[in-house]
């Protein structure tokens, strides 16, 4: 079965510091990968998606970036965090095959507080 893990679960970072959130998927190959952000009490906002290694598309211009160095690894980064970057970040995956095709599955999420 497929699993998705992201870490760290909780992060408190000062303004201007760098960020790295990591996500890995197991049990599937060549998945679509996603990073979403959820502000407090709000819905989900798609930040980045990737359809393959090294292929990153950004939905929202901001000071965050994403990378996909391996097929099942997705990393969310920032060189200098802003207070407005605080929120709950969710990594997710989907693929086109099998019974789960065209369904997005989410990781456990990472709480980021920028102070």
């Amino acid at each position: 079965s497929q699993t998705i893990h992201q870490w760290p679960a909780t992060l408190v970072q000062p303004v201007g510091s760098p960020l790295s959130l990591e996500c890995t998927v197991e049990g599937t190959s060549n998945p679509n990968l996603y990073w979403y952000r959820q502000a407090a009490g709000r819905g989900l906002q798609l930040l980045f998606y990737s359809v393959g290694i090294g292929q990153i598309s950004s939905e929202v211009p901001q000071n965050l970036s994403a990378s996909r160095p391996q097929d099942r690894q997705f990393i969310l980064s920032s060189k200098k965090l802003l207070l407005s970057d605080s929120g709950f970040y969710l990594c997710a995956w989907s693929n086109y095959t099998g019974r789960s095709g065209n369904t997005i599955y989410f990781g456990e999420g990472s709480w980021l507080t920028v102070v």
Binding site: N32, Q38, R42, G43, L44, L46, Y49, V51, S57, F88, L90, A92, S94, Y96, N102, T103, I104, Y105, F106, G107, E108, G109, W111
Partner: protein, 117 residues
């Protein structure tokens, strides 16, 4: 562009009773998928149920069922025999069935459901 609307920001239900959460969407597509996700206090997003638009039969998963009205673009979630563990934020979501590889999912703003003992 597709939009998903959940008109009930908050709802509550007594334990063991039935509750229905509403969702409407706007699209010009004919082939798509609809989903309900549950987000408990732990914040992890959990898939509750999925409906393929080409299927007329409403999807069912144990105590969860949907009422899919394609012409009306309505996709409501019914929770029967509500349990305390059903307390969560519920998100309705839409995804096009597209020939491109990328599947873009659009979410509603969510409905916060509280099950009362």
């Amino acid at each position: 562009a597709q939009t998903v609307t959940q008109s009930q920001p908050e709802m509550s239900v007594q334990e063991a009773e039935t509750v229905t959460l509403s969702c409407t969407y706007d699209t010009s597509e004919n082939n798509y998928y609809l989903f309900w996700y549950k987000q408990p206090p732990s914040r992890q997003m959990i898939l509750v149920i999925r409906q393929e638009a080409y299927k007329q039969q409403n999807a069912t998963e144990n105590r969860f069922s949907v009422n899919f009205q394609k012409a009306a673009k309505s996709f409501s979630l019914k929770i029967s025999d509500s349990q305390l563990g059903d307390t969560a934020m519920y998100f309705c979501a839409f995804m096009k069935q597209d020939k491109r590889r990328f599947n873009d999912m659009r979410f509603g703003a969510g409905t916060r459901l509280t099950v009362k003992p």
